[in-house]
C-alpha cells in the first residue's frame, strides 16, 4: 500500500481484452530513488502494464482497466502519453525513437527546444521563434552529465554507436525539468556487455539523484546487480514483489516460468534415432530476430521445439531455412543439402512452413480460401493446373482448388461459409488452420510451425496443437515448432532447444526442471552440456 515515501503505487490493476485476462490484481509500489526490476516471460503482461501507466489510447479503446494509479499520493488517470510525460514519467522504448540526421543535442531537446522570441512571433505565433542553440547545447550537456557518461552533444545520431543512442534517449527523458520516474524497456538488449555495464552505472547515478526507475530486462543478473526491489509478472499476476537482497538468479527464473507441466514424458517414445534434419553453423539476417550461429539435429518423426525470449533469434531459424531471409551455413535434410535463400527449391524439397506472421506472410487476406490453401502447392509443385494448347499455357484448375479447400475445411473443422470466403473474414484460429492447410497441401516430410497459437483463443489453441500431434503420429511428419510459450512446447515436443542471443543456449527434454529453462532463456547458463540431455 502507498506510504509517505513512495512515489508511484499501482493498486489492484486488472485488464482484459474482450474477456481475455492479461493483468489480474497487480499491486506494487515504487519508492523515490528506487530501482524496480520488472521481469516476466513474453506475454506475462509487462507491455500492457506500461501502456496502462502511460494512458495509451489503446487501453481506453478496449474498455479501460480496473484499479488505481497513485502518483505522489494523488490518483492519476492519464488519457494520453503526453499527460504522463507532463506528470514526470518518462519512457525509453526498446526501439530507438531518434531522428538519425539530428545531433544528440537536437534529439535530446526535440520539441522542447530553447527559443528566442522575435518580432515574427507576434504575427505568426511561437513557432517563428529562433532556436537558442547555445542553451540547447548546455541543457543537453547537463542531461548527459547527469548520466555520468561521455557523449559529444554535437555528434549525429546516425554516426553514434548503439550504446550512445540509448544514452541519448535516456538523456532526452531526464532533460524534462520535472522527471521523477523513468521506465526503461529492455535498454540493455542491444548493448554489448561493457556498454550495459556503463548503463547500469548511469542508472545508479540517476537513482542517487532521486529519480525512480522501472527497469524491464530479461538479463536477470543485471536485475540483481542494480535493482532494489524485484517484481515478477507471470500470466498477468504479480507473483513476487520482494527486495532483491538474498534473491538468486535461479529463484527469479523459477518464479518467472512457474507452472508445472503434466504428463508429457509419455510422448517421448515415438522418436527414432535417425537424424533427419541437420543444421550446421546457420546464420540468418532477419531484422529483430538475428540468428548468429546455430547447429542442431532433428530426428525423423520427432517434434522438435525451439523456445526462447522474443528478439533472441528463435524465429530467424525457420525463416532462414525456408529462404525468406538471407542466410548462410549448412543444412541437410535426409542427407541431401537444403538449398538456402531459395524458397522455391525448399518447398520442392519436402519442407513447408507455417509463418508466425499470419496476416503479413501467411495469408492472402483479400483472396478466397481456395487461393490461400492451393496457391503454394500450385506455384511450388505445379498442382491444380490444367494444361492448355499442349502445355503452352497452364490455367488454374478452380475445380480441384475448390475440392482441396473443401477437404481441409472438413478435416481441420474450419468455420467458414465455404471455400469462396475471403481469408480476412475468418477468426484468428480459423485463419491459423488455413495456414496449416496450406502447408499440409504440400505433403511435406518436414514442417516448420512458428508461433502456431499466437493470438488465438484457448479452444482453437488445443485444436491446432492436437492437429500437429495427429499429423506427426499418423503421417510420421517431422515437425519443428517454434514458440514463445514454454508450456506449449513442453506439452507437445520431444526435445526443446532454447535460443539466446542468436545461439542455442541448450537443448532440454520437456521433463527438465523449469528453472533450467528459465536460466537458459536469460542467458545465465550456456548449455555446453545441454546437448547431452
Amino acid at each position: 500500500m502507498a506510504n509517505e515515501s513512495s512515489l508511484l503505487s499501482l493498486e489492484g490493476i486488472s485488464k482484459d481484452f474482450y474477456g481475455n485476462v492479461v493483468l489480474e490484481d497487480v499491486t506494487f509500489t515504487v519508492g523515490r530513488g528506487e530501482i524496480i526490476g520488472l521481469v516476466g516471460e513474453n506475454g506475462a503482461g509487462k507491455t500492457t502494464l506500461m501502456r496502462i501507466l502511460f494512458g495509451m489510447p489503446v487501453i481506453a479503446e478496449t474498455g479501460g482497466f480496473k484499479g488505481r494509479i497513485m502518483l505522489d499520493g494523488k490518483q492519476v488517470a492519464f488519457t494520453s502519453p503526453f499527460d504522463a510525460l507532463d506528470a514526470g514519467i518518462g519512457m525509453v522504448h526498446q526501439e530507438f525513437s531518434l531522428i538519425p540526421g539530428f545531433t544528440a543535442t537536437e534529439n535530446i531537446t526535440l520539441n522542447r527546444e530553447s527559443m528566442k522570441r522575435n518580432v515574427a512571433c507576434d504575427i505568426f505565433g511561437e513557432r517563428m521563434s529562433v532556436l537558442d542553440r547555445a542553451r540547447m547545447r548546455t541543457r543537453a550537456a547537463k542531461a548527459i552529465s547527469r548520466l555520468g557518461v561521455k557523449l559529444d552533444p554535437d555528434i549525429l545520431v546516425s554516426e553514434m554507436p548503439v550504446g550512445h543512442k540509448q544514452f541519448t534517449e535516456i538523456a532526452r527523458e531526464i532533460d524534462r525539468s520535472n522527471v521523477k520516474l523513468l521506465v526503461l524497456d529492455e535498454p540493455t538488449a542491444v548493448l554489448t556487455e561493457t556498454e550495459a555495464e556503463v548503463l547500469i552505472q548511469s542508472m545508479r547515478m540517476l537513482a542517487a539523484q532521486g529519480i525512480s526507475i522501472i527497469f524491464i530486462s530479461h538479463r536477470l543478473h543485471e536485475i540483481i546487480n542494480v535493482a532494489d526491489k524485484i517484481v515478477v509478472l507471470r500470466d498477468g499476476k504479480a507473483v513476487k514483489s520482494v527486495p532483491v537482497k538474498g534473491v538468486s538468479v535461479h529463484d527469479i527464473a523459477t518464479w518467472m516460468v512457474g507452472r508445472e507441466v503434466k504428463g508429457s514424458s509419455s510422448m517421448l517414445s515415438a522418436c527414432s534415432e535417425k537424424v533427419f534434419l541437420k543444421v550446421d553453423n546457420l546464420w540468418v539476417d532477419m531484422p529483430g530476430e538475428t540468428v548468429r550461429n546455430v547447429s542442431f539435429d532433428v530426428c525423423e518423426g520427432e517434434i522438435f521445439g525451439i523456445g526462447g525470449l522474443a528478439g533472441q533469434g528463435k524465429l530467424g531459424i525457420p525463416n532462414g531455412l525456408m529462404g525468406l531471409f538471407p542466410a548462410g551455413g549448412n543444412a541437410s535434410l535426409d542427407d541431401s543439402p537444403v538449398p538456402l535463400n531459395d524458397p522455391h527449391k525448399v518447398l520442392n524439397n519436402h519442407m513447408a512452413f507455417v509463418s508466425e506472421d499470419r496476416r503479413g506472410v501467411g495469408l492472402l487476406l483479400d483472396e478466397t480460401l481456395e487461393w490461400n490453401v492451393a496457391f503454394t502447392a500450385m506455384q511450388a509443385k505445379g498442382e491444380h493446373l490444367i494444361p492448355v494448347l499442349g502445355g503452352l499455357f497452364k490455367l488454374r484448375n478452380e475445380r480441384t482448388m475448390k475440392l482441396l479447400a473443401e477437404e481441409y475445411i472438413k478435416t481441420l473443422e474450419i468455420k467458414c461459409t465455404g471455400p469462396k470466403q475471403r481469408a480476412k473474414e475468418l477468426s484468428g484460429g480459423n485463419q491459423q488452420k488455413i495456414c496449416l492447410a496450406k502447408a499440409f497441401a504440400l505433403k511435406p516430410k518436414l514442417l516448420f510451425v512458428s508461433e502456431p497459437t499466437r493470438g488465438i483463443d484457448v479452444g482453437a489453441k488445443a485444436i491446432v496443437l492436437e492437429t500437429l500431434r495427429r499429423y506427426n503420429k499418423e503421417y510420421g511428419m517431422t515437425i519443428v515448432m517454434v514458440s514463445s510459450e514454454l508450456e506449449e512446447l513442453r506439452s507437445i515436443c520431444h526435445r526443446i532447444a532454447i535460443v539466446d542471443e542468436g545461439r542455442i543456449a541448450g537443448i532440454l527434454p520437456p521433463t527438465a526442471e523449469i528453472a533450467e529453462f528459465g536460466l537458459l532463456m536469460s542467458g545465465e547458463k550456456t548449455g555446453k552440456n545441454g546437448d547431452a540431455a
Binding site: 525513437s97 529562433v130 532556436l131 553453423n281 539476417d285 550461429n293
Partner: protein, 379 residues
C-alpha cells in the same frame, strides 16, 4: 584511412552525378553552339534574375520530407491570376506587380492549404499526387479564365479579352507591368544589365530561408522530413507542419511566377504555369538536390546549369544534326530525363543504403563468410 581519402574525388562525382552529367553536356554544347561567352553570360544573368525565385519554392517541402513539390504549379497559377487582374485594371509598373501579389498571395494560401490537405492523405506518394493536382488545377484555372472571367467577373480591358468576346486571351501581353521590378534599379556594366532590385529580392529570400531554417517551425520541418513517427511521438503536429511547408512553397511560387513574367513581358495564360513547374523541378535536381535534401547552393548551381543548357543546346543541336527541331527536342528530352535520372538514383541509393545498414547487423557463423557477405553487399 588513407586509401579512402584517395578516392574522395570519385565519391564526390558519384554523389553529384546528376550535376556532373549536366555540366559535361553543357561543356560539350557550348563550342558547338558557337555562341560568345559574353552573350551566354549576359543571357545567364538575365535568366537567373528571372527564374531563381521560382526554384526556391521547392526547398521547404523537400526539407519537410514531401519530395519535389510538383504542385507548386498552383502557386504559379495564383500569380498569373493576380497579373490578369493587374493588367485588366491597367495598374502600371511596380504598383501592378504589388497588386498582383496582393491578389495572388491570399489565393496561394488557400490553394496551398487545400494542396497540403490532399497530400496529407497521399502519404508516400506525394510527388505523383502533387503532379496530378497540378493538372487538375489546370482544369479549374481554365474554367475560371475562359468562363468565369467575362461572365461573372467582367473584363474591362479589350486586350485581355479573347477575340470571341468571352474569357481571357491565350497569350497575354504584360506591357504595363513589364520590367516593373527589373527596371527600377538597373545597372549597366559593359554589355551586362544588372537588375539590382531583383537581385535584392532574391538575396532577401535567401536570407529568409537561412533564417527560417533556424526557427522552431523550420526545425520541426527538418525533424518531420526525417522521421514522421518519432516527430509525432515527440508531440510535433506533423500534419499541420506539412501543410505549412506546402503553403509557404505555394506563396513563394506565386511571387516567383510574377517576377518571372514581369521579366518575360508576356504570358501563355494557360501554359506558363506548367512550364514553371517543369523548370523548377529540373533546376533544383540538376543543382544537386535530392528528393530529401536541398540547399540554397543547389538552387544557384541548378539555375545556372539548366539555363546554360537551354541557351546552348537548341543551337548546338541544330549545328550537329542540321535540324532546329532536334535541338529543341534534345532540350526537352534532357529536361525530363534528368528528373527521371535524379529520381531513379535517389530511390536506388535509398534501397542500397538500407541494404548496407542491414549488412552491418548480419550475424555470421564465421569470419570468412562475414567478409564475403560484406563484400557482396558493397557490390
Amino acid at each position: 584511412m588513407n586509401p579512402l581519402k584517395k578516392f574522395e574525388p570519385l565519391k564526390f562525382i558519384s554523389d553529384n552525378i546528376v550535376t556532373v552529367i549536366f555540366l559535361a553536356l553543357t561543356i560539350i554544347a557550348i563550342p558547338f553552339s558557337r555562341l560568345s561567352g559574353i552573350y551566354i553570360l549576359s543571357n545567364l544573368i538575365d535568366r537567373f534574375a528571372r527564374s531563381a525565385f521560382l526554384v526556391f519554392a521547392l526547398i521547404l517541402p523537400i526539407m519537410a520530407g514531401m519530395g519535389i513539390n510538383f504542385a507548386m504549379v498552383l502557386g504559379a497559377t495564383a500569380g498569373q491570376i493576380g497579373l490578369i487582374f493587374a493588367i485588366d485594371y491597367n495598374v502600371m509598373g511596380i504598383q501592378g506587380l504589388l497588386l498582383a501579389t496582393c491578389i495572388g498571395v491570399p489565393l496561394s494560401i488557400f490553394l496551398g492549404w487545400f494542396c497540403g490537405q490532399v497530400l496529407n492523405r497521399a502519404r508516400g506518394r506525394e510527388m505523383v499526387t502533387g503532379f496530378i493536382l497540378g493538372y487538375f488545377m489546370d482544369g479549374v484555372y481554365q474554367f475560371f479564365g475562359l468562363y468565369v472571367m467575362g461572365w461573372l467577373i467582367p473584363i474591362r480591358t479589350r486586350e485581355v479579352m479573347q477575340v470571341t468576346g468571352s474569357g481571357v486571351r491565350n497569350t497575354l501581353a504584360l506591357g504595363p507591368v513589364r520590367g516593373g521590378l527589373d527596371n527600377i534599379l538597373n545597372l549597366q556594366v559593359g554589355p551586362f544589365h544588372l537588375p539590382l532590385l531583383t537581385f535584392g529580392v532574391i538575396a532577401f529570400l535567401c536570407l529568409f530561408i537561412i533564417w527560417f531554417r533556424k526557427t522552431k517551425l523550420g526545425h520541426d520541418m527538418r525533424a518531420i522530413g526525417q522521421d514522421q513517427g518519432v516527430s509525432h511521438s515527440a508531440g510535433i503536429a506533423v500534419d499541420r507542419t506539412r501543410i505549412m511547408a506546402i503553403v509557404i512553397s505555394t506563396i513563394l511560387a506565386c511571387i516567383g511566377q510574377i517576377i518571372y513574367l514581369q521579366n518575360m513581358g508576356n504570358m501563355g495564360t494557360y501554359t506558363s504555369q506548367r512550364q514553371a513547374g517543369y523548370f523548377a523541378a529540373a533546376a533544383i535536381l540538376v543543382g544537386g538536390a535530392t528528393v530529401s535534401k536541398a540547399t540554397i547552393m543547389n538552387v544557384f548551381v541548378g539555375v545556372f546549369l539548366v539555363h546554360s543548357l537551354y541557351i546552348t543546346m537548341p543551337i548546338a543541336g541544330k549545328e550537329i544534326f542540321k535540324s532546329a527541331m532536334v535541338g529543341q527536342y534534345m532540350s526537352d528530352f534532357i529536361n525530363y530525363a534528368i528528373i527521371a535520372l535524379a529520381l531513379v538514383l535517389h530511390a536506388w541509393r535509398n534501397k542500397r543504403n538500407a541494404d548496407l545498414a542491414r549488412a552491418g547487423l548480419r550475424g555470421h557463423a564465421d569470419k570468412d563468410s562475414a567478409l564475403a557477405a560484406q563484400a557482396g553487399a558493397v557490390q
